[in-house]
């Protein structure tokens, strides 16, 4: 099953009620898959006139208390930033899957990870964050899409699944399963018609300064809670690792293979893979560096996650950075060669009792 098909499977299993989307490569299998699966189930599928409209339709369905989602790729997700900001401001749960491609602008349709800033820093106007889940396999495309709905509902916030064209197009075995789910939450705030209660206004608009200031405080409290409770990362063979790779998504897979090959050579390499990009797993990253002499950050951009890594590490370990863009990606050989070079260098230094600053 391809990663894109796995997104469809995860959404159906999570009980998505409404899907709205606009075609864009390399995620077209999702919109087609949603049409094929949702319509026979009598659930809502609609191809919108634009990404602006798609995210607004998601807004409407979410305001009505339904599980709503959209999917797109980088340029389309840029258009959706308006709607994502409104969702965040209106505290509406929704799931947005971004199958990233090369940019800026129209770029190309090859895999890339250039939307990290956009996804983790809010992306639209105003002071907000969205939870960002980064799958690295078709299985996780299913699992994380499923779990994104629970997170969205729990925190009343849009949740982004940040993937890329390679994970979307690649096929590998997937277990069709319901991943661990959270308790379904009630939505007493949903618009259902003001029957036997006061009318609701689902909005981000708060013209008086004290009202918006208070609203921002409430949002901030939610974001702090997410930062406390939700950081996720995978530590792979990091316990005794002298060299730790940090990468997410498609890049993390490459590093994991490189780690195995380096270990075959008796070299102590490991991988710390952030699963939530926001909240960034600072503590988990630090914990993986106990024995590390070098940290290698690699991503399909010229240094976006790198900034979060630097903030987390605070200069404790020297950082090597490998950036790629436009659809290029590191080869396994390249990663192994770099790991070998760095590990041997640190071993030599140790042997010659060379002092590190």
């Amino acid at each position: 099953m391809s990663g894109n098909d796995a997104v469809v499977e995860g959404a159906i299993r999570a009980g998505v009620d409404c899907y709205f989307g606009y075609p864009i490569t390399p995620q077209n299998e999702i919109i087609a898959g949603m049409a094929a699966r949702l319509l026979p189930l009598g659930r809502v599928f609609l191809q919108s006139e634009s990404e602006l409209a798609a995210i607004s339709m998601v807004h409407g369905a979410a305001a009505a208390g339904k599980r709503a989602m959209t999917t797109s790729s980088s340029p389309g997700v840029s258009l959706m930033q308006e709607g994502i900001s409104y969702l965040a401001g209106s505290r509406l749960p929704a799931v947005i899957v971004n199958i990233q491609r090369g940019g800026p602008g129209l770029g190309n349709i090859a895999p890339a990870q250039g939307d990290y800033f956009q996804a983790t820093r809010g992306g639209g106007n105003g002071d907000y964050r969205t939870i960002v889940l980064a799958p690295d396999s078709a299985q996780e495309m299913l699992d994380f899409t499923f779990q994104a709905f629970d997170l969205a509902d729990q925190y009343r916030s849009p949740v982004i699944v940040l993937s890329d064209g390679r994970l979307g197009q690649m096929m590998e075995p997937v277990e069709l399963r319901d991943p661990p789910a959270r308790k379904r939450v009630e939505k007493p705030w949903a618009l259902t018609g003001a029957k036997g209660r006061d009318a609701f206004f689902v909005c981000s608009l708060r013209l008086p300064v004290p009202e918006l200031a208070e609203h921002n405080r409430v949002l901030d409290k939610v974001f702090r809670e997410i930062e406390r409770r939700e950081p996720r990362a995978e530590a792979y063979r990091t316990d005794d690792a002298r060299l730790v790779f940090t990468a997410y998504g498609a890049c993390a897979r490459l590093c994991r293979e490189a780690v195995d090959l380096l270990r075959d050579e008796g070299l102590k390499a490991g991988l710390l893979r952030p699963i939530t990009l926001w909240p960034f797993p600072h503590k988990k990253l630090l914990a993986s560096l106990k024995k590390a002499k070098t940290l290698v950050v690699t991503e399909l951009s010229y240094g976006q996650m790198l900034e979060d890594v630097r903030l987390a590490v605070e200069g404790r370990v020297p950082i090597e950075f490998l950036g790629y863009a436009g659809g290029e990606a590191p080869s396994i050989k390249e990663l192994v060669a770099l790991g070998r070079k760095l590990l041997k260098k640190s071993n030599r230094k140790k042997a010659s009792k060379g002092k590190r600053r």
Partner: protein, 219 residues
């Protein structure tokens, strides 16, 4: 490779690589031909059906208990351009789905031959569709199999089924020899779509496996 000896090496790494046992509980077959991760690239022109053949090959590998990935090329054009796909098969978790050091390359036309032969390494197998790739250069250390795949399929009743010949041939080369499994997969995939051609397709697939096994055995 020289082993690094460090003083703190008494403590063993706790994190182990995932075992080769699949979640289905099925034990992975240890087949000598697939000890290391094998990298297969199928390339031709759009419409030759290699994308489908590659997908079925990956599915067959998974059914046999291997890890496998498959990724098609996806371009702006739909028909007529070159189409290729990457398949990786092995015991270990597969990081990159992209072929770097090819185990098998199948080229169905001239542009594909030119584009992908740089990925050949010592010990690779190159399968060339001889009628559409007229001149094959020298590839030292590479096992070159020149077959008129289009013609063979055509003589057996369906020129357009040359992709099933490729599917069988690669399965044979990889040592995925469970013919029941392969023909079952073919029946599931194409049986409904084109029932009239199913018999021919199955024969062509069987022929492909024969050719693959033959080639695997030869030097």
């Amino acid at each position: 490779m020289p082993k690094t000896k460090t003083r703190g090496s008494k403590k063993k790494s706790v994190a182990q690589p995932p075992s080769a046992v699949k979640k289905t509980g099925k034990t992975v077959k240890k087949h000598p031909a697939v000890e290391a991760t094998r990298e297969i690239l199928l390339a031709g022109s759009g419409g030759q059906g290699l994308i489908l053949a590659g997908k079925m090959l990956a599915q067959a590998a998974v059914a046999e208990g291997f890890n496998a990935t498959y990724i098609p090329s996806y371009g702006a054009e739909v028909r007529g351009g070159t189409a290729h796909c990457h398949i990786k098969v092995g015991h270990r978790p597969i990081g990159s789905p992209i072929v770097e050091d090819a185990t098998i390359i199948v080229v169905m036309n001239e542009p594909s031959y030119r584009a992908f032969t740089p990925l050949l390494r010592k010990g690779s197998t190159l399968v060339v569709n001889s009628s559409l790739v007229p001149t094959v250069g020298k590839h030292p250390g590479v096992k070159v199999i020149e077959l008129d795949l289009t013609e063979i399929a055509s003589k057996m009743g369906s020129m357009r089924s040359a992709n099933m010949l490729v599917f069988g041939l690669c399965a044979g080369l990889l040592g995925i020899e469970d013919r029941k499994l392969l023909s079952g997969l073919l029946t599931d995939t194409l049986g409904k779509k084109n029932p009239a051609l199913l018999g021919t397709n199955l024969q062509i697939l069987a022929k492909g496996v024969d050719l693959g096994e033959e080639a695997a055995a030869s030097k």
